[in-house]
């Protein structure tokens, strides 16, 4: 993972600041940086979203394609995650360095979405055992400024909210051959219900306390972090510990509670902004990358 080098005195300053609930940029331990969310910016995808957390920039594009359902789940569609960490994000990820981080993030996303209720996969089925919608979720890491897992999960949820899957009808003629007919109206599509989609909250342990949304400097001072995926109702779907330090079981419980609380506010804020964007409709000025 990319990191900055800090002197011992700088690290000490950050650790003491976290103890007193005043971080370097004035935030408290449970405050997020100001996030900018925009959806529908990549025109040739079924859904896309861009999330900018000051200096962390993530772009997610979702393409819905027809495929065959998995053998063990014949009446459900599925999601495939691909994460691209290029050296655009940080020079440390040049060459093959980004692959390890990319597979790490993709595996985390699979785990987060492994719970059955996160996305209604049955609605993605067209013909049991024969045809289903496969959602290819591509995550692009544009800039690495700390706290990428949270930003990626917010972007994935926003992109899923924005995804429009065309409605198809299955026609069966007398011989039994099935034909799939796409509806003529390009705006006739099905939307996904993202109420149960979880978001990841990263809690980094710095000194005796933990912080949410760590910057690169704070990540350099933290030896262990806990990644928790929380749904909008506060249910935990997965948990992962990263870092070479150790965590006391009591602090894990505290961090889980904080994660649930912060996760719920995160979902509320995200849903509000998605609804606001939706209400602006097609007249909304698209900012994209050239605004």
């Amino acid at each position: 993972m990319a990191s900055v080098v800090l002197s011992e005195a700088e690290k000490l300053y950050i650790v003491h600041g976290v103890q007193e609930d005043l971080r370097v940029d004035g935030r408290g331990c449970e405050d997020y940086r100001c996030a900018e969310v925009e959806t529908d910016i990549v025109s040739n995808t079924s859904g896309s979203a861009r999330v900018k957390l000051v200096d962390t920039d993530i772009l997610v594009g979702i393409k819905a394609e027809m495929g065959t359902p998995k053998l063990e789940k014949p009446d459900e569609g599925y999601l495939e995650f691909f994460v691209d960490c290029s050296s655009n994000a940080t020079p440390e990820l040049e060459g093959r360095g980004g692959e390890e981080l990319g597979t790490d993030i993709a595996n985390t996303l699979y785990r987060v979405f492994s719970s059955e209720n996160s996305v209604d996969l049955k609605s993605l089925c067209i013909n049991p055992r024969e045809h289903c919608w496969v959602l290819y979720v591509d995550v692009l890491l544009l800039e690495y400024g700390g706290n990428i897992f949270d930003a990626i999960s917010i972007a994935v949820k926003a992109a899923l909210f924005n995804t429009r899957i065309p409605k198809v009808r299955v026609l069966e003629d007398e011989e039994g051959t099935k034909e799939i007919e796409l509806s003529d109206d390009p705006y006739d599509c099905i939307r996904l219900n993202v109420d149960e989609v979880p978001c990841i909250v990263t809690l980094s342990k710095i000194g005796y306390r933990h912080v949410v949304d760590a910057t690169l400097q704070e990540e350099a001072c933290s030896l262990a972090s806990l990644l928790i995926s929380v749904t909008s109702k506060g249910a935990l779907t997965s948990m992962k510990k990263v870092g070479k330090g150790s965590l006391d079981p009591e602090s894990i419980f505290e961090m889980m509670e904080t994660g649930q609380r912060v996760g719920k506010s995160l979902h509320v804020a995200l849903q509000k902004i998605l609804d606001e964007e939706e209400s602006l409709g097609t007249s909304r000025p698209k900012v994209g990358f050239l605004g």
Partner: protein
Amino acid sequence: MAAVTMRLPVPRAPLGPSATRGAEKHLVAPGDTITTDTGYMRGHGTYVEDDKLIASVAGVVERVNKLVCVRALKARYNGEVGDIVVGRITEVQQKRWKVETNSRLDSVLLLSSINLPGGELRRRSAEDELAMRDYLQEGDLISAEVQSIFSDGAVSLHTRSLKYGKLAQGVLVQVSPSLVKRQKTHFHDLPCGASVILGNNGFIWIYPTPEQKEEEAGGFTTNLEPVPLADREVISRLRNCVVALVTHKMMLFDTSILYCYEASLPHQIKDILKPEVMEEIILEARQRLLNLQG
């Protein structure tokens, strides 16, 4: 208790002509023709194609008699003798340290250019060479002055004064070198309760004002006591003000930082980074600076 704010992105508003002051600046982008007159000599940032002088970087055209060059707006730091820089040690080599100063090549700090602890003046011995890591390690921050420039452009630093040396607890902000105004002094003790070092290379160091001007042992002892909360608030506020000034491409000097700080006092520290609050603060600071000039 948790505060999560999300917003929709706002397109960048084009700066009106009222924002500029002074003479009209000739701004160019890479590929723009500067002049078709062949009587000019081409300087840095230009090249000749089809008898036209074309800019190769984005910046301001500067003309000195017959020499035309383009000074880039965002470029690496080019060292000049006498500049104050803040740098981070990247390597410890034989008899010298390599310091990162946001320039094209790492700067060099020779063992003979530092003050030994205790202020002794003697020839550096082999023991000093072996004990280099005790003075400065990888990751340490130092404030130094540019002594000379090597032929390849690498800068040679020295800390031969009690005001330079290893930096203790504080906050570093990295900005573009072109935004730091050249002044008589770059070490400022701001009246709000913190001190700031405006490095010419774009590294801004904000730290708590040391209580008494103690007789430092060559500037290598670090104070590791916790900084009180009141000082921390001032430092965080200053850091956010510097970020706000940089986002709006304003020159950084002690007066602009101070005016920005005073304009930000009614707001909470973490709110300064919100776009609308930032604009309000910068507008007020800009107005006060114009009043000061005019």
